[in-house]
């Protein structure tokens, strides 16, 4: 019954509080999918196509089946009634090829799953997989999205007349008139290369079929447990309430686990067929070959402006490399690029086109930023080019084109309504921290000494906190349940699915503040569909801004009910609930959360019209997206001899609205920036002309290591969002969105004395050396 819980009066929101989830992670006792053991657990190994395009003539599984310890071998024929792998994209005229969970008569990309072996031991499963003989008839493949558009290109899906999956057009304002009246026109082709998300934990699945109950337990490394359950139940033909899905500890996602994958259905299917629990853990090589990639744009830009730097209009054509199939959001990602392509600027004339093209590659989909880094990259490059062309300082031209703080909510050229903003503030702060004027003087001096020093800016805006339901492919709401237990302890169930972001801590901070209880008395649960009410998940920098807001409203309901019990216990209508106490304003007498909880569950007496118990659930949908923004400033030096880029300073000033936990916000910014540094300097998914993934392992794909990363000087401005009661905006993707154009702008600035106007990513020493030695041609 009631315990004497200490009363929490110190406000925790806004404080740098160490995370509640960390002890289990630090001591090696957290349970990721691969750590799950159960009696009779079997292991699966998937046989994958070495060809990017081929017909399957025959598959011989006999030797594998005869291997001691093998309990099942399955091929496309066995699973033809399962699926298909779902896509949430619904664009007009979209071509959606059937995506079965194992290849049927053809393979469409290198790594395409063809067969699966189930055995008592993972070594035996791998041995047996090697014994499966597949007779392929290789056909021409196409991996380059530009070449895929040519009339003579091999067709990825022979049932379609060409490789175009869809086209999309959006036009706002009067683009032709703006172009006719402009003083300056700049054109540029800009590539946002294919990237491999590389969560440190690969994907993995454990499926356990309880035949007597017709119940499937599925453990999978996902960002969207509830949506995955609904969609997988559909694929498998199971009633949704007979699929219990758990996202256990998830070792990073970055969008790559915001999906429903063939293997989740496949391992479920084989577990049902062999009647044993089955585990499949993706190897890193598989992770690179078959888990979604990100970006993959070839964009053509035209920007026009007046002589004074006023931007008038923008034309953009996006060529999106889709890969061979649609995964959950594949075709939608470039539409986010279109929405955000005006960046932070006031012009109202935009013509945007997308051509989505199939290639014999793994599908692209949401990777940290998902369409917004691409958009920010092109607009921030074009604005920088404009500044150089018009000989205007790059900070000045940006400030000139911002909407002012009193113009918010601000309707953009593409029809979005930016919630709140003060774009000049983070830019001014970044310039101040960097000592911009002095830096420019030092740069001028260094140039006279022949040094290649560059200063680059990017000021980004981001659409996040997804979002109103009509604007999202699933629901755009989030859910929270607050249970004040009979002892006064508090359990929070969130529909979000954190996998590193720390919501077990930030949501406990919000709860502790609202209820006035100790942080230690709050437990936040997530990811288990049998425990938590339906939710949407963690992606698009939405967990706090939407899930935290749902929690806030659930807490208000609980507080209202607690106050009623407080009134009853204190025999007064005039009470205040604060600091963990319910206090009578007249007598000064008070009662605690624990006493109220005890009374609510014991229910000897109830306030009039009030039910027993203290539980509240809220589903909450935001009226708009939230739009964080910020300014990044990067100082680089380029080595003339080697083409190597050294980052001398990195200043990031982000505005994500109110901050729940500054330690965690800093962590998000650092991680985001470093992922985009990877794009700017090191990373690229490379397919050869036959569709083989050349960068197919961590040995060949350079994600940043500690010694490759500069010290990040981070600061914040705070412009609360009006769209949710917490005033938060979201910060998970900000660093990734702000960084890459700042780095490229800096290096272009360094090489400006050589006549360089643009450089595509990744800016490897090889690429830079070639540019320097070509004497100006980029």
């Amino acid at each position: 019954m009631a315990t004497s819980a200490p009363v929490q009066t110190e406000r925790l929101v806004g404080k740098a509080i160490r995370r509640k989830e960390d002890p289990r992670l630090l001591t090696g006792t957290a349970i990721y999918v691969d750590d799950i053991q159960m009696p009779g657990l079997h292991h699966a190994c998937i046989v994958r196509s070495p060809h990017a395009a081929a017909k399957i003539r025959s598959i011989s599984t006999e030797a594998a089946r005869k291997t001691a310890g093998v309990v099942g071998v399955f091929t496309g024929e066995d699973v033809k009634d399962i699926g298909p792998v779902p896509t949430g994209a619904a664009l007009p005229g979209l071509r959606i090829p059937q995506h079965k969970i194992l290849a049927q008569d053809r393979v469409y990309y290198s790594g395409h799953a063809v067969a699966v072996v189930v055995a008592t031991d993972k070594y035996i499963a791998r041995d047996a997989a090697e014994l499966i003989e597949i007779d392929y008839d290789p056909t021409p493949a196409i991996a380059d999205p530009e070449r895929a558009l040519r009339a003579d290109a091999p067709r990825v899906h022979p049932e379609y007349p060409d490789n175009v999956a869809f086209t999309y057009h959006q036009e706002n304002g009067d683009v032709d008139a703006a172009f006719a009246s402009a003083d300056v026109v700049l054109k540029q082709r800009i590539v946002s290369q294919r990237l491999i998300p590389t969560a440190m934990e690969t994907r993995g699945v454990v499926a356990e079929w309880r035949a007597a109950e017709k119940l499937l337990h599925l453990y999978t490394s996902t960002q969207i447990p509830h949506l995955a359950r609904t969609l997988l139940a559909g694929m498998l033909g199971l009633p949704e309430n007979k699929l219990h899905l758990v996202a256990p500890e998830v070792g990073g996602g970055f969008g790559s686990k915001l999906n429903v994958y063939a293997e989740e259905a496949l391992i479920s299917f084989v577990a049902m067929r062999v009647g044993k629990p089955v585990k499949w853990i993706e190897s890193r090589r598989e992770n690179f070959a078959v888990t979604i990639h990100g970006r993959g744009h070839v964009d053509h830009l035209e920007i026009v402006a007046k002589k004074d730097g006023t931007i008038l209009a923008l034309k953009v054509h996006i060529l999106q490399d889709l890969g061979a199939y649609h995964q959950l959001l594949t075709a939608l990602i470039p539409t986010l690029s279109v929405l955000m392509v005006p960046g932070l600027y006031k012009f109202h004339n935009v013509r945007a086109d997308i051509t989505g093209v199939f290639t014999n590659c793994v599908p692209t989909d949401a990777y940290r930023g998902a369409g917004r880094p691409e958009a920010t990259h092109v607009i921030e490059r074009m604005v920088d080019m404009l500044a150089a062309e018009l000989n205007i300082d790059p900070a000045e031209i940006r400030i000139k084109n911002y909407p002012k703080p009193d113009e918010f909510p601000f309707q953009t050229a593409t029809g979005l309504v930016y919630d709140s903003g003060n774009y000049e503030a983070p830019l001014r702060e970044a310039l101040r921290i960097a000592g911009y004027q002095e830096l420019r003087q030092e740069q001028a001096k260094a140039r006279t000494e022949g040094k290649l020093i560059g200063i680059g800016l990017s000021t980004y805006g981001e659409i996040c906190a997804f979002g109103p339901s009509p604007a999202t492919p699933a629901g755009g709401w989030e859910s929270a349940t607050v249970k004040v237990e009979p002892s006064g302890m508090v359990t929070v169930l969130t529909g979000t699915s954190p996998h590193g972001q720390g919501e077990e801590t930030t949501f406990a901070q919000i709860t502790a503040d609202e209820l006035g209880v100790s942080l230690d008395h709050v437990t936040v649960l997530h990811g288990d569909t049998a425990v938590v009410q339906y939710g949407i998940g963690t992606f698009g920098s939405r967990a706090t801004a939407v899930g935290g807001a749902a929690l806030y409203y659930a807490l208000q309901e609980i507080k209202t009910k607690m106050a009623r019990f407080g009134q009853m216990l204190l025999e007064s209508d005039d009470v205040t609930l604060a600091g963990g106490l319910c206090t009578c304003n007249k007598t000064g007498k008070s009662t605690t959360v624990a006493h109220i909880a005890a009374a609510a569950y014991r229910a000897l007496k109830l306030p009039e019209g009030t039910d027993p118990g203290l539980v509240a659930t809220r589903f909450w949908e935001p009226p708009n997206f939230a739009y964080p923004f910020g300014a990044h400033l990067v100082v680089t030096e380029v080595d003339r001899e080697t083409g190597e880029i050294k980052i001398l300073r990195y200043v990031a000033v982000d505005d994500c609205g109110n901050v729940i936990n500054p330690l965690l916000v800093a962590g998000q910014v650092h991680g985001g920036v470093v992922q985009a540094l990877g794009q700017a300097l090191y990373e690229q998914a490379v397919y050869d002309e036959t569709g083989q993934l050349i960068s197919g392992e961590l040995m060949d794909y350079a994600i940043p290591r500690a010694h490759m990363v500069p010290w990040l000087e981070c600061s914040h401005t705070v412009t609360p969002s009006p769209v949710n009661p917490l005033g938060v905006k979201g910060v998970g993707e900000a660093g990734t969105i702000g960084c890459s154009p700042a780095v490229v702008n800096s290096v272009v600035d360094a090489l400006r004395p050589l006549g360089v106007k643009h450089i595509d990513m990744p800016m490897t020493p090889n690429r830079i050396w070639n540019i320097i030695n070509a004497g100006a041609q980029a």
């Binding site: 160490r18 995370r19 989830e21 960390d22 002890p23 289990r24 992670l25 630090l26 001591t27 090696g28 006792t29 957290a30 349970i31 990721y32 691969d34 750590d35 053991q37 070594y123 590389t198 969560a199 440190m200 934990e201 690969t202 500890e249 998830v250 070792g251 990073g252 970055f254 853990i281 190897s283 890193r284 996998h499 590193g500 972001q501 720390g502 330690l663 965690l664 800093a666 962590g667 650092h670 991680g671 985001g672 920036v673 470093v674 992922q675 392992e697 961590l698 040995m699 994600i703 940043p704 290591r705 500690a706 010694h707 990363v709 010290w711 990040l712 660093g735």
Partner: protein, 157 residues
């Protein structure tokens, strides 16, 4: 053809009959149930599987269990003593040196090893020491802070 091996793991002698091809990381995880040591790449690049073998850090995905025969292994589960976290673990907690936690056990083992060799490392020494441990979440800055904090905690003792 199985081999008998004896390995002292986290101070406890363990014997087992294993296939010669069994990886050390699988022996630790599957035979002993020490699942704190993670597998991130199976090619010795990512460092999630880092453990100590006779006091030196090794990547347990690239060693066979039989190679550890007669030797002593320390895993992440062996760092805390009497329920108290090691000072490196404490410092990672305080400085937010982890997010998803998957690289963390290996990262902590490498940082402990660094501090065993260099009690008060500078930023460059820290970054170089963890160059074999990939983290996709933190951008490494808070890990640098954590190692500095752990070094400071030791010097205060």
């Amino acid at each position: 053809m199985k081999s008998t091996i004896s390995i002292t793991v986290n101070g406890t002698p363990c014997s087992a009959e294993v296939e010669p091809r069994l990886l050390l990381v699988h022996f630790l995880r599957d035979n002993l149930g020490l699942t704190g040591t993670h597998i991130g790449c199976e090619t010795s690049i990512c460092g999630a599987c880092t453990v100590e073998l006779d006091g030196a850090t090794v990547k347990s995905c690239s060693l066979f269990a039989v190679q550890a025969n007669g030797r002593s292994v320390t895993t992440i589960e062996g760092l805390a003593t009497a329920g108290e976290m090691h000072r490196v673990q404490e410092a990672f907690w305080k400085e937010h040196g982890l997010q998803c936690g998957f690289c963390t056990p290996g990262m902590v083992m490498s940082c402990k090893q660094l501090l065993d060799r260099i009690p008060d490392p500078n930023e460059a020494e820290i970054r170089n020491a963890i160059e074999g441990n990939l983290c996709r979440c933190t951008g490494y800055q808070h890990i640098v802070n954590a190692v500095k904090a752990a070094a400071a905690a030791a010097s205060r003792r």
